[in-house]
Amino acid sequence: MTPSKKTIAVEKKILSNAEYSRRNAQRRRVSFIFLVAPALGWFLAFMLWPLLNMFYISTTSWNALNMPKKFIFLDNFVRIFHDPKMAIALHNTGTYLLVGILGVVPFAFMLGFFLSLRKPGYRILRTIFFSPSMLSVAALAMVFLGLYRPNGMLNTFLTSIGLSALTRVWLGNQATVLGALIAIDIWGGIGFYSVLFFAALVNLPDELYEAAMLDGAGYWTIMWKIAFPLMLDFIGLVVILQFLSILSGAAYMILLTGGGPGTATFTLGYYLYDQAFLSHRLGYSQALGVMLFFIGIVAIVLIRRITSRWSS
């Protein structure tokens, strides 16, 4: 605070610097609590106890919502270590994450940047890019079933352009099924996140780009040398969102493949669903939930650290 403001005391007394700072801090704290309390209270009411509950149940053996629980300490976690399905699930989830993030974020950013240039027709493009997100998961499943069937649209298209050698039983072939599911995510994700990037980028001042152009930079350079660094935090956020959504995601596996064929699409998220709803091992499923929870925390911290180091 400038010296002149310091002399504006709330009371008539002239306070010392230290006293003023203390009262100020107190007042700030009061305002802070007043502003934060509703949101925090709302959140804790619904999430805190159930979260603790999740940790508690992960230490039990529990088979059905109305059956008794049996306390078994950390047995569930020991079981995770020895579980052969864990290795498979980790491998599949890892692949999904790698392809799902690298296949979405860079392209979403580039498309978002292009949209933010507001060239003619950008509004229509923006609406189109966003529309997959408006389809419910069940509708998407129906669409992609129609695409991936042995006599579905994809194979028919490939045959019609003479590439019938490339036709596959996409959902039945262990080599292609995981990629087929990831493709659904990428298809919708690029459009969705590109609109988000648009919203973030469009707020950058015009003068920024103009100055760069006068200095001799083209759009490509501007995109990577100016927009990208400024957006690093937001990009980090998008990566976190994609990461968490893929980590616990199971919708397409449930609707289209059931984790198969064999174990080709058996991921961590599906494993949790399977143990909770299909195999009736609620305790173990919560242990998996706890594990996913910690993986998520580590991921968030890492991604944040990377983006902050990158921007400095």
């Binding site: 949101a39 149940i57 408006m134 419910s136 001799g216």
Partner: protein, 287 residues
């Protein structure tokens, strides 16, 4: 950008033109990849199963709206859609009212409590929904709100708060420090400052979370299933009923249901898109 008249060197202009052309090319290509499946859904709503499977992309033989009427009759898709929209609007509004002042506090009021609060919200991010199903059900039943959509309007903000807080705090942090000082000089209490100055300036962040939260609420199935009854179905419950009521699936029926459910969403998106974007641009103009 280049809409203004600038004396930009020819080589740069050409490179930028190339970029724009490339941008259009890939955008249109991607747009086509999106439109084709959507087109598939649209025409399927007018066909029967055999036509859908054997000639998926052919135009329908006749424009019979029979499937639409049937979808409406079977599970009352329109009502489900309206209920869901009502829930979405209510929950989004509540989330914003709760989160914006809190985000301001965390981002702009320098106290140590700030980091603690931020961490608490971030953890909420990672809780799988299944874990909290039972306790929330009991709470709703005890409050006498079972089977009433208000229950979801109250519940969903709790799910949206973590993400909303993270994004809004991020945006609010970026705004210049001088804003508070000039506002204090103009007079006005804290709430007025927050609402009249910071709110319009954070439009990009607000739009972002409105959009993200909308998706999550629209697609939410588990809690809607458990907390609602057959009179107050949300759109996802209604669509699921179209599909699972019969093992022999009528794809045309599902397509019709999907289209009916998308229509209000589309309209709202297009209508508000213009209003919000123009508000955003106005907010971006420096005072």
């Amino acid at each position: 950008m280049l809409n203004r008249v600038l004396r930009v060197p020819k080589k740069i202009k050409k490179g930028s033109d190339l970029f724009v052309m490339g941008g259009y090319f890939f955008s249109i290509l991607y747009a086509a990849l999106i439109i084709i499946p959507l087109y598939f859904v649209i025409v399927s709503a007018f066909k029967n199963n055999t036509q859908i499977i054997s000639t998926p992309l052919a135009l329908p033989a006749a424009l019979s709206f029979q499937k639409f009427f049937q979808a409406q009759e079977n599970v009352n898709v329109l009502r489900a859609g309206l209920i869901t929209i009502g829930i979405t609007i209510g929950a989004e509004f509540l989330t914003l009212v709760l989160a914006f002042p809190a985000a301001y506090a965390v981002a702009r009021i320098p106290t140590r409590l700030g980091t603690l609060v931020e961490t608490i919200f971030s953890i909420g991010f990672l809780i799988p929904g299944l874990a909290i199903l039972m306790p929330i059900y009991m709470m709703t039943a005890k409050a006498g709100l079972l089977y009433h959509p208000i229950a979801l309007v109250i519940l969903y903000p709790a799910f949206s708060l973590p993400l909303t807080m993270i994004i809004l705090t991020g945006f609010l942090r970026k705004l210049p420090r001088e804003l508070e000082e000039s506002a204090v000089m103009d007079g006005g209490n804290l709430l007025q400052i927050i609402f009249y100055i910071f709110f319009p300036l954070s439009m990009p962040g607000i739009i972002t979370i409105l959009v993200l939260n909308f998706i999550n609420i629209w697609n939410e199935y588990l809690f809607a299933l458990i907390l609602m009854d057959s009179n107050n179905r949300t759109i996802q419950l209604a669509l699921a009923l179209l599909r699972a009521n019969q093992r022999a699936v009528d794809y045309g029926l599902i397509a019709a249901g999907v289209l009916i459910s998308m229509l209000p969403v589309f309209i709202i998106f297009i209508f508000f898109q213009d209003k919000i974007m123009s508000g955003m641009l106005a907010g971006a103009v420096k005072e």
